[in-house]
């Protein structure tokens, strides 16, 4: 393919180089060939497509480092294809899916299956984590080396914590042999089992079993000790509490190779969203107090929290229209990742480039993907978005198979207009 596309009249935004300027960008054969204030037309020939961005923002495509897709196994909730369509509509050009499918992705054939299906679908790039332990049972390690060779981006037990300290120690230690990353669902299970919301006044009023916020910090602090012993690379997923964020802040100051992400619901919502048993606001870990929500924003501000990931978790009606404790946790987030994150810019908490850095550059760096920046020679993966136009989130319009999000009707500002992967448009917003 010798496609050539020139994107003109764009506000180019690249957190890696702190670029924020009017300009143009040229994609040739799927890669970024040039970018600058005004690219010369000489020598470009005639067979070139020109896309006028109309002054909209053009940034590296979002790299969503935590999504759940339900294929293989629960295709009625989400397939790789519907997930990819949802991602494309959200401006996501690369996503990493958890291995908690059925069967569990703990064999290299399954990693290859995901890679092949992703190529066939040809939309957002789909990468997969492999299970850190066989069957996600928390006991025996999977074949880290072979799985990584097959294309697994990192190792995690998905929505379950690697709870046994010895297993975690060996996982970190063995992974360090190949310089691989371990991603933890940081929650001490013995303090969280049966819990549905964060412990406190709201849980007490609703009569729901609560999980103390310390369950997160306890697991993170333990893991950080194990990182110190092993020298492994460690990433804490969806951190949501001041305690865990403080622990990571200190660990980073000590020079440990640790990183973490959070999800939009941990800075866009607090525990009051559960209201009167609203199961669409049930997530794992649960929504936290306002103090913890503010700590998440602070963590993003000072860079303790590296990345924002959607934590996209499709759940059908039958999994959510249940009494609160029986309902499945999870929010579909691919299509609201960008607008909810942009709230941080619009409300003055973070500069725009810093928001974009958490959405593209940092997750790409953590997973060591060739993505997340506007550099000549890199894949031409962009999101073109309107930063300011107000709209209202309408869950019925989601391309995801599931509509489980507590954001219906929420006013938002900014959304993807066009998503480009390898120089090819994979999504264009309806005018």
């Amino acid at each position: 393919m010798t496609g050539r596309t020139l994107y003109t009249n764009a506000r180019l935004l690249d957190p890696a180089t702190k670029l924020d300027a009017k300009g143009e960008i040229l994609a040739v054969d799927g890669k970024i060939a040039a970018l600058g204030p005004k690219l010369g037309r000489d020598g470009l020939g005639k067979d070139i497509e020109t896309v006028d961005c109309g002054g909209a923002c053009l940034a590296p495509g979002l790299v969503d480092m935590r999504v759940q897709l339900r294929e293989p196994g629960d295709e009625y909730q989400e397939t790789l294809e519907t997930g990819a369509n949802s991602a494309a509509a959200g401006g996501v050009t690369t996503m990493a899916m958890l291995p908690n499918t059925a069967p569990v992705i703990d064999e290299h054939a399954l990693v290859e299956f995901v890679a092949r299906r992703a190529r066939e679908i040809g939309l957002t790039k789909i990468r997969t984590y492999a299970a850190a332990t066989k069957g996600l049972l928390g006991k025996e390690l999977t074949e880290f080396g072979l799985l990584a060779e097959a294309g697994a981006v990192a190792f995690t037990d998905g929505t379950r914590a690697i709870s046994d300290a010895l297993v975690m120690r060996r996982a970190l230690s063995y992974a360090s042999t190949f310089d691989l990353l371990i991603v933890q669902h940081p929650e001490e299970p013995s303090l969280a089992t049966g819990g549905a919301v964060t412990e406190g006044e709201i849980a007490t009023r609703l009569g729901l079993p609560g999980i103390n916020a310390a369950a997160e910090a306890i697991m993170v602090e333990r893991d950080l000790r194990l990182v110190e012993i092993t020298g492994g690379r460690y990433h804490a997923a969806h951190v949501s509490t001041a305690g865990a964020i403080d622990a990571i802040r200190c660990a980073k100051a000590r020079g440990l190779a640790v990183s973490c992400d959070t999800a939009p619901h941990y800075f866009a919502l607090n525990e009051t969203a559960v209201g009167d048993y609203r199961t669409f606001a049930k997530v794992s870990p649960p929504l936290r107090s306002e103090e913890d929500r503010k700590a998440v924003v602070e963590g993003l501000k000072d860079g303790t929290i590296d990345a924002i990931a959607s934590d996209h978790a499709p759940q059908d009606q039958e999994s959510k229209r249940l009494p609160f404790t029986s309902a499945e946790p999870g929010i579909v987030g691919l299509e609201t990742l960008l607008p909810l994150s942009l709230e941080l810019h619009h409300n003055g908490a973070l500069p725009l480039l810093q928001v974009l850095r958490a959405l593209s550059q940092r997750p790409a760096e953590i997973l060591r993907l060739n993505a997340g920046k506007l550099a000549v020679g890199d894949p031409a993966d962009f999101v073109i978005f309107d930063l300011d136009r107000p709209w209202r989130i309408d869950v019925s319009k989601f391309l995801s198979k599931c509509k489980n999000a507590p954001y219906d009707g929420r006013p938002a500002q900014g959304r993807a207009l066009r998503t480009v992967v390898g120089g090819r448009g994979i999504f264009t917003a309806a005018a």
Binding site: E201, T204, L208, G210, D276, P323, F324
Partner: protein, 321 residues
């Protein structure tokens, strides 16, 4: 009179909890219950208020006394009462709560009385049906008719609720009776204390407007009412308290601890009692102090009042057949 009209003394379609009810609404139900106490004692003819109308007792949890109390209340008002136990129903076959609700709704009952082991389940069900729903206990959330009957006993024995000091003792953490009583007693102006070991006190319980005590003698000091809660057997052995022996020693109500309370303090228990666990058997049977039997009697009257109130609009809208 239509629902929500300004002069409607009880403008709610369902009774899902005490939280959200005004003092006037609570008083209205209690006043009406008083009338039913007298009527029930007269053993006259069965009332015809609910003749030809169906009430379904839908219990997803074992219960004898609450279910029987509702059944009796419905029958004394002349209604047809059907009892459904979850074990016998299709719930066990995988039918969802909402499917069950819709199926029962299609049978056009007047009232669904629901007990469910999960907090919030009765509210969820109420959103899917067109009849009135009474919460007969949902998880650790609310049990409003229990709080109303307790209030009726207090009011009859003490002449008021406002200003009374009520000590609720025992497994506050898992108790829907405690939550409904805290809500009602605070709304009506009583002073509420909770007394329990720390493992049986929910987080931030003081935010519900109660005084928290772990020393039972202090908690009972000058109390007008002592409300004992049942300790579930599965919580006795090492999970929340180390042993029955230790629990009874510190939190079981016996005459020694009772001395701290006012001389005329009343002892209440929602039943069924664990004698020798949370309450000494002699104390439970002390006819001068224990009002446990009256609670049962008031339960029927309160439930009659609730059934009457919640069906009133439909009865007025369409004459009974």
């Amino acid at each position: 009179m239509t629902i929500g009209a300004p002069n409607d003394p009880f403008p709610h379609r369902h009774l899902l909890g005490i939280e959200g009810l005004s003092p006037g609404e609570i008083t209205y139900l209690l006043d009406l219950a008083e009338i039913y106490v007298e009527q029930s004692r007269q053993r006259g003819e069965k009332l015809a208020l609910l003749r030809g109308r169906t009430i379904i007792n839908l219990f997803f949890e074992n219960s004898t006394r609450t279910r029987t109390s509702f059944e009796l209340a419905g029958k004394r008002l002349g209604g047809d009462v059907i009892n459904m136990q979850a074990q016998a129903s299709s719930i066990k076959k995988g039918e969802t709560l909402i499917d069950t609700a819709m199926t029962l709704n299609a049978m056009h009952p007047e009232v669904l009385i629901v007990r469910h082991p999960e907090s919030g389940a009765v509210k969820l069900l109420s959103e899917k049906v067109s009849c009135a729903v009474i919460n007969a206990g949902d998880g650790s959330h609310e049990h409003p008719t229990q709080a109303l009957l307790d209030a009726l006993v207090m009011r009859r024995r003490k002449g008021r609720i406002q200003g009374l000091t009520v000590a609720i003792c025992g497994d506050i953490l898992h108790s829907r009776v405690a939550r409904s009583n805290i809500a009602l007693l605070n709304t009506m102006g009583a002073h509420v204390r909770v007394v329990a070991p720390r493992t049986l006190l929910p987080a931030a319980i003081e935010r519900l407007g109660v005084e928290v005590h772990t020393d039972m003698k202090k908690g009972l000091e000058d109390a007008d009412i002592i409300m004992m809660l049942r300790l579930q057997t599965e919580r006795m052995h090492g999970s929340y308290v180390p042993s029955i022996r230790e629990y009874f020693h510190f939190y079981g109500l016996d005459y020694a601890k009772l001395e701290a309370a006012k001389d005329d303090a009343l002892i209440m228990h929602p039943g069924p009692m664990n004698r020798g666990v949370e309450i000494d058997t002699d104390v439970a049977d002390d006819i001068d102090r224990s009002v446990i039997q009256q609670q049962v009697e008031m339960g029927v009257a309160v439930r009659m009042a609730c059934l009457d109130t919640l069906t009133r609009d439909r009865r007025n809208g369409q004459a009974a057949p």
